[in-house]
């Protein structure tokens, strides 16, 4: 299977991720959308790396996976904290700041 197939899969995942972050209001969904975007990027990296013969793409993918984990941990901690303060996890709901 050539490069193109992988790129198309990745593009679809990117689209899903973007839609998930803008169209769903629950913060958990937004985080899942972000994970989809990152996965799409990883798929790109590994596919390019496979077809251009450099290892750099794979190394980047490793780092990106680790960073995704770190980011998710911090994001969920913040979500839990906000949930404790507001009893809501829709980002539109806490509205102190928009007055």
């Amino acid at each position: 299977m050539g490069l193109a197939g992988y790129l198309i899969v990745s593009a679809v995942m990117l689209a899903c991720g973007i839609v998930c972050t803008v169209a769903r209001k629950n913060v958990i969904y937004i985080l899942m959308g972000i994970e989809l975007i990152l996965n799409a990027a990883n798929l790109n990296l590994v596919a390019f790396s496979r077809f251009n013969g450099h290892l750099d793409g794979q190394v980047f993918a490793i780092f990106s996976i680790i960073l995704a984990a770190a980011e998710a941990a911090v994001a969920l901690a913040i979500v839990l904290n906000v949930f404790g303060l507001f009893d809501s996890i829709r980002p539109d709901d806490p509205d102190l700041l928009k007055e």
């Binding site: 990027a41 251009n52 980047f60 906000v82 806490p94 700041l97």
Partner: protein
């Protein structure tokens, strides 16, 4: 081939890391927040010392230790980050709300954020750039939510993390496209081997994906420096975050974001007739410049119009910082080292005036526990040092002589006009006129109202804070009429290291 075993060039980073980790241990031993703060300050000063040592030296070309570039451009921005961190730490120490709990975490994460800013500014490698950005961002999310019992702080952190994660994800995707198009993750290599040019010559099948990739990468940078349409988080986060953290976000974080953006753009899109390359590629750089100019115009206009309606001081400064990002983009839009030079100078000017403005805000928060502009009524009479220095910062933010804001803005205007962006200069001129109204609302509240009108009793600032403000005001004037203006020449050399290879 640089001597990669020579630790001289990585010493500031090592120093900062060591002090950051040690800050956690100091807390275990002594449990005294002032001590941890002082310890971090010591670390920052040591780092700054190492950086100053580097600044005078001729750096090795290319990379040190694989991914790290230690050119003067990087050192300048590292100094910028360390300098602002020193003030952030001092502001934190002088601020009212120092908590019993979690201060060592605060300083640790603050120093790590500085480390992220360091690496973000000092790399040509996309992986390293992403890593630096993430370190800076993750630290900033935590710092924003530092008042975890406070709803505003929590909400600000939530907004920040969501916007940030989406933007950095999109940027990562853009990076992967660049990797796919060039086969390299190293911007230096991309630029030197003109890898993008090969793509470009293939016609639309080349430049359409390049455009998409660049646009996606811009999402990340734009979010970091709060350019439209990625600026929505700025006012909320600036208002909700603890004020010293806001200072950090407005100054150091934004500065490094610009550094990364300039490096990214210098990799293949420069409009420099002296560079080897074909005309089409240069034409493409010009087009990117047009796009940046458009973003600049939109950003500054949105920022200024929104700032007009604000009553909260921190929110107003947030919108003002958006507007300033727009002004700075004027220099970026030129896509040559003349513009980049003016960007560097403006950032230095911006450093002094914004740190000063936030320092004054911290004083108000300490004494009046209010952040509304109306709370400032008559304050200039009761706290003359803060009042007068604040006026100087405001004058600089408007861009009037004899301050650094004027010289900085002047050079941005000249760069824009000289490179065919007359319309942008006109837009920026109009925006400057608009900005006058809201900046002077502060001046009006402080001086034109009766001293007795204010709701709060004010006290004289601590001599330390007053000293800091005077120092920053001095810097604002130094780079406005003093010999500091000559730095412009120096920055021209610095930006040339970035653009001529």
């Amino acid at each position: 081939m640089p001597d990669i075993t020579n630790p001289f060039w990585i010493r500031p980073e090592l120093c900062l890391t060591a002090f950051a980790c040690a800050a956690l241990l100091v807390d275990l031993l002594f449990r005294e927040s002032v001590l941890v703060g002082a310890f971090s300050l010591m670390g920052l000063l040591a780092t700054g010392y190492f950086l100053l040592q580097q600044y005078g030296q001729t750096p090795p070309p290319g990379h040190v230790l694989g991914c790290v570039a230690v050119d003067r451009f990087a050192t300048l921005f590292k100094l910028f980050a360390v300098g602002s961190l020193i003030f952030v730490v001092l502001f934190t120490l002088l601020g009212k709300r120092t908590r019993r709990e979690g201060f060592s975490e605060f300083y640790f994460i603050l120093l790590c954020a500085g480390l992220g800013a360091f690496f973000l500014a000092s790399t040509y490698h996309l992986l390293m750039m992403f890593l630096g950005l993430e370190l800076l961002s993750i630290s900033s999310y935590v710092l924003t939510g530092y008042y975890k019992g406070n709803r505003r702080s929590g909400e600000a952190a939530l907004k920040y993390v969501i916007f940030g994660a989406v933007a950095s994800g999109v940027m990562l995707y853009g990076f992967t496209l660049i990797y796919g198009l060039t086969g390299s993750l190293d911007l230096l290599e991309i630029s030197e081997k003109q890898l993008l040019r090969a793509q470009f010559e293939a016609g639309p099948s080349g430049y359409v994906p390049i455009s998409i990739a660049v646009a996606m990468c811009f999402a990340g940078f734009a979010y970091k420096i709060s350019i439209a349409p990625f600026h929505f988080w700025t006012p909320d986060v600036y208002e909700g975050a603890p004020t010293p953290v806001t200072t950090f976000l407005a100054v150091a974080s934004k500065g490094s974001g610009f550094a990364a953006m300039l490096r990214f753009l210098s990799a293949g899109f420069l409009v420099d007739p002296n560079l080897p390359g074909n005309e089409a590629m240069m034409g493409y750089g010009v087009k990117i410049g047009h796009l940046v100019a458009l973003l600049a115009a939109v950003t500054m206009t949105l920022g200024n119009l929104a700032a007009l309606q604000q009553t909260n001081l921190k929110r107003m400064l947030a919108y003002s910082s958006i507007a300033h990002a727009g002004y700075i983009l004027m220099g970026v839009a030129t896509m040559n080292d003349e513009g980049f030079k003016s960007v560097l100078f403006y950032l230095v000017a911006y450093y002094f005036m914004n740190l000063g403005a936030f320092g004054a805000v911290i004083y108000f928060a300490n004494t009046t526990s209010g952040e509304e502009i109306d709370d400032l009524r008559g304050l200039g009479w009761r706290a003359p040092v803060v009042g007068v220095t604040f006026i100087i910062f405001l004058v600089a933010l408007v861009g009037l002589p004899p301050t650094s804001g004027f010289v900085g803005k002047y050079n941005l205007f000249v760069a824009a006009i000289r490179n065919g962006y007359q319309w942008l200069a006109v837009v920026a001129g109009l925006n400057t006129a608009i900005s006058l109204f809201y900046y002077f609302r502060i001046a009006k509240a402080m001086y034109l109202r009766d001293p007795d009108e204010g709701r709060f009793k004010t006290v004289t600032p601590s001599p330390m804070l007053a000293g800091l403000l005077v120092l920053l005001a001095f810097g604002t004037l130094w780079f406005g009429i003093g010999p500091g203006v000559a730095q412009l020449q120096d920055y021209a050399a610095v930006s040339q290291t970035l653009t001529t290879r």
